[in-house]
């Protein structure tokens, strides 16, 4: 049991609401409650990002002057697979899963969860259409055109899939999540692009198509650099608000550093070295290492942000202090 906080040693409120607001709380009891989320939610966040961004990449690839057909196909399938694997994770995390369909009972623009449910539904629908068309397009002539049309909304909603999970965290009262909404959105969006490009690059490397793999590796590296900048901005804003503690000390601090090392440093290094070499001397192993690291970093980033925020509610002081500063 926690020791008593020294309320009685604190000066009386006659000081006119000034002084160290963090000094006295109610027996250091939590002022917020954490959501009951676990790895299933962070797993979904990763899959949503990969699926959404893969759909964008494949749509762009299909519209490029000489479409890389295998990459387009893989991106479309990844868009569907991410949705098919991610949705059950979300449903399984509900505490009354049999009522999952109530998520589509209303559309509420003030709820990031509601917005996300509709983005997921729309994305899933269009991704299914695109993937189905992709698989049977050769046999039915008119379908190619339909796929060409359906992939545009799929890619648009893919952008939503890539970033809405950041808004889902930001639009809460937990300060670690809420102190830097724009930077977190940028960080998750960039990480989604990096992980999707990494996943697609692995397939290209495995199939021996080094040229498209190199293109994707470059995209991974650019996205990772973007993520790095966003993470630095986010860190600064959280630190300014006095709520970055959980990412500076303790287990989630180590985990967060590992996420940045794997998600940013390793991919940028591997792909950077590889891409600076002449095309015939590029290493498949180096490319694969960078891609795998990017994927692992993306997973660790989502899981660390989720769990660090949840655990941060145990200490009421950063939140109460932050709320006072903001007033």
């Amino acid at each position: 049991m926690k020791a008593l906080t020294p309320h009685h040693r604190r000066s009386r409120r006659d000081d006119g609401h000034h002084g160290d607001a963090a000094a006295a709380t109610y027996y250091d009891q939590p002022a917020l409650k954490p959501p009951p989320y676990d790895w299933r939610i962070s797993g979904y966040m990763v899959l949503a990002g990969i699926a959404g961004s893969a759909q964008i990449i494949s749509t762009l690839a299909s519209l490029s002057p000489h479409p890389p057909r295998r990459l387009v196909r893989n991106g479309r399938l990844l868009g569907l697979i991410g949705t098919v694997l991610g949705t059950p994770l979300l449903i399984a995390d509900l505490k009354t899963p049999s009522r999952f369909y109530n998520m589509l009972r209303i559309a509420r623009p003030t709820s990031a969860m509601s917005i996300g449910s509709w983005i997921l539904s729309g994305f899933g629908g269009f991704s299914g259409l695109v993937a189905l068309g992709q698989l049977v397009a050769g046999r039915i002539p008119g379908l190619r055109r339909l796929v060409g049309l359906a992939q545009v909304p799929a890619a648009g909603l893919g952008a939503g899939m890539s970033v809405y999970t950041a808004s889902l965290l930001s639009a809460t009262s937990i300060p670690l999540w809420s102190a830097a909404p724009q930077a977190l959105g940028t960080q998750f969006g960039a990480s989604s692009m990096a992980t999707a490009a990494a996943a697609l690059s692995l397939a290209e490397v495995a199939a021996g198509r080094r040229r498209t793999a190199a293109t994707l590796d470059a995209l991974t590296a650019v996205s990772a650099l973007c993520e790095l900048v966003a993470s630095m901005v986010a860190r600064r804003q959280r630190a300014a608000a006095g709520v970055n503690g959980p990412l500076e000390h303790g287990r989630w601090a180590i985990s967060y550093r590992a996420a940045l090392l794997l998600g940013v440093v390793v991919p940028v290094a591997c792909h950077g070295i590889n891409l600076l070499r002449p095309p015939h001397r590029r290493s498949d192993q180096l490319s694969a290492a960078g891609s795998l690291a990017a994927l692992a970093g993306g997973m660790l980033l989502r899981h660390t942000m989720l769990r660090a925020g949840m655990d941060s509610t145990a200490d009421p002081r950063p939140y109460l202090h932050h709320s006072r500063e903001r007033r």
């Binding site: 109610y26 002022a31 917020l32 409650k33 009354t96 990031a112 930001s170 937990i174 940028t186 995209l219």
Partner: protein, 296 residues
């Protein structure tokens, strides 16, 4: 508060059934749909009897929880939860030269409850519509719709809403929705022996609360202030007002209340816009790389 004239219609101590519009007799407020109702909790009147906690548990048939010693003064309830919708806080204060013996007269108690915010973050974050605003301007969870997504839990700036592991649904104070429908004052307010918890129309309560603060200031208790009334602490950070508001004498943090709780929904658009802009920028980069990659 004087006796309501209608009370004289019921001279017997044993009543044949519920009195119509009983709230008019117990709180001076007739309950009508379409008006805003709430609580004014005046902590200077609280004696820490926990009658509100007991009345709430009994009326709402809430299960017992946390039967353990907390070490926190007389507070073994510890927090609001899915099964505890009123929670009396106990803060023992240092000796004061001007009044009474130490740790007795300086004892601060406060009965905490769901604030039924004017723009309630729990309701705004609920994707199923299980959380809704009633005809009495209160915020209630419909457990027959809630699917236990848990998103209202981190949305609440006061840590009030919680999921019950017993049924996998969110639960919190309903401001006795069923009693209001039946013309009864909420259980906690009716049971409060010192009128620390006052039930009524919010505008009337706010007016009464301002008078009470002025009176306390006149009597020398210049610490007294309102928390959650319009333009007061608790309602300056984005929440317009709290329908259940408080008169406090310590800083909000002493009661674990945020000085300026904000509105989480305001952060959706900035996050989405920044994220989508990033993805669009990276998509442009991808398009350029794809075009260049094929040419080389």
């Amino acid at each position: 508060m004087g006796v309501h004239p209608r009370a004289l219609d019921y001279p017997d101590s044993l009543l044949p059934g519920p009195i119509p519009d009983e709230s008019e007799l117990t709180s001076g407020t007739r309950i009508e749909p379409g008006r805003s109702y709430g609580f004014f909790t005046d902590t200077t009147l609280c004696i820490g009897c926990k009658a509100c906690e007991v009345a709430c548990k009994e009326w709402n048939a809430l299960p017992a929880d946390g039967l353990a010693l907390s070490g926190m003064s007389y507070d073994n309830t510890v927090k609001l939860s899915a099964d505890t919708w009123r929670h009396v806080l106990f803060v023992e204060k240092a000796p004061r030269d001007d009044i009474g013996p130490p740790f007795q007269a300086g004892w601060v108690m406060m009965s905490d409850v769901c604030k039924h915010c004017a723009n309630a973050p729990c309701m705004e974050s609920c994707p199923t519509g299980a959380l809704f605003r009633t005809e009495f301007d209160t915020v209630v969870v419909q457990q027959d719709i809630c699917n236990g997504c848990g998103y209202c839990v981190p949305a609440c700036p006061f840590g009030v809403v919680e999921l019950s592991p017993a049924d996998g649904k969110a639960h919190k104070c309903t401001l006795c929705y069923d009693r209001l429908k039946g013309g009864l004052e909420p259980a906690c307010a009716k049971s409060c022996p010192t009128d620390s918890i006052q039930f009524g129309e919010v505008d009337t309560l706010v007016e009464r609360a301002h008078e009470r603060v002025a009176e306390l200031h006149r009597r020398g208790a210049t610490d007294a202030y309102l928390y959650g009334a319009p333009d007061s602490p608790g309602a300056t950070g984005g929440l317009e007002r709290l329908n259940a508001f408080f008169l406090l004498t310590e800083r909000p943090e002493v009661y674990n209340l945020p000085a300026a709780p904000d509105r989480p929904a305001d952060r959706i658009a900035p996050g989405l816009a920044a994220g989508v802009a990033t993805v669009a920028g990276l998509a442009l980069a991808a398009a350029a790389l794809l075009a260049g990659g094929r040419r080389s």
